[in-house]
């Protein structure tokens, strides 16, 4: 889904004369944001105070949203800012209110296996980026087949200025119905597990 949003948002064309300066500036901004993302992630790992970790995760989401804007994917950025930086930070905070305020230090010998898994997974992800097409490559699979068709056909088929909305609600309306059901299921699961709306539930401490 996000691939579709990416290419659709990236499809807006730039002025050819401004292209070189604009590209250099956007690369500089992207490097800056990515550096800040890494710094945030490292300080999140090092921090033991869970309140600070929750705040930093909100900052991380906000920085990701800024990065999506730099990639011209405004719809994705919007969602990331609203969900990642906004609501999930609050949910994590209300989760912290129910648990300890500090993270317990973990025994050094038990850190080795997770570290190995993280490095292997990260290495595999970096390795897989070598095969990925360049950003905005018109020959890339995400841009070439059905994507190009959506961009070409939206003005005739749907007549909605925002192609992302046309793809999301019209061309892929069935997928979005599925996503809505996923959101519904998440709310239902929370209701069943935590169940505060039930009579006497939650506050009575029945767990």
């Amino acid at each position: 889904m996000s691939m579709i949003l990416f290419f659709a948002a990236a499809a807006s064309d730039a002025e050819p004369m401004m292209e070189v300066t604009g590209q250099a500036a956007s690369v500089a901004i992207e490097i800056l944001i990515l550096t800040l993302l890494v710094a945030t992630a490292v300080s999140m790992i090092r921090m033991r105070q869970l309140f600070g970790v929750a705040m930093l995760s909100g900052i991380y989401s906000l920085l990701s949203a800024a990065f999506f804007v730099a990639l011209d994917a405004v719809d994705v950025a919007f969602t990331e800012a609203a969900v990642g930086a906004g609501v999930s930070t609050v949910l994590v905070l209300s989760g912290i209110a129910l648990t300890a305020k500090r993270e317990m230090p973990v025994d050094r010998r038990r850190q080795l296996l997770p570290l190995l898994i993280v490095f292997v997974t990260g290495g595999a992800l970096v390795y897989s980026t070598i095969d990925m097409p360049a950003f905005g490559d018109p020959q890339a699979p995400a841009n070439a087949y059905v994507g190009a068709e959506y961009i070409a056909q939206t003005p005739q088929d749907v007549e909605v200025p925002n192609i992302v909305t046309a793809v999301l609600a019209s061309y892929r309306g069935f997928d979005t119905l599925g996503e809505t059901v996923v959101v519904f299921t998440a709310g239902l699961a929370c209701l069943l597990l935590l169940g505060t709306t039930l009579r006497g539930g939650g506050k009575g401490g029945r767990d």
Binding site: F78, A82, F174
Partner: protein, 146 residues
Amino acid sequence: MGHLILRVTIKTLFAPIILFALYVQFHGDYGPGGGFQAGVILASAFILHALGFGLDRCQRVIPPSWLPVGMALGVLIYAGTGVYTLLFGGNFLDYDVIQPDSHHHAGQHIGIIAVELGVGLAVAATMLQIYYAFAGREPEPMDDSW
């Protein structure tokens, strides 16, 4: 009950946030946004109010028993739009049959607004439901408990 500055800020921001949510909801065809984002923004206005003024006052405006109804109703509006198009001889979610004579795809616009409304309602109710589920388990955290 939060700090005075927080309460004044929340009171000032509450209405503009809801207005912005409605703008994002109904402007999704023209600009970035749509039901998902609008639902989250709408829920965040109420969550913000609950953070500043306590969960009880928020639950007096939106009782917890409404939220499962809102969640289900949102999904039903979305799926119901699909069933509606089926009944009028189109495919599932084929919005063109809503206004078959239109030359500027009015059916598509109506259909998109309808399904986005369903998405917005479902997402807003779900977000608030999840927040109620977490925040309703214990008294408000003290200011110095962090």
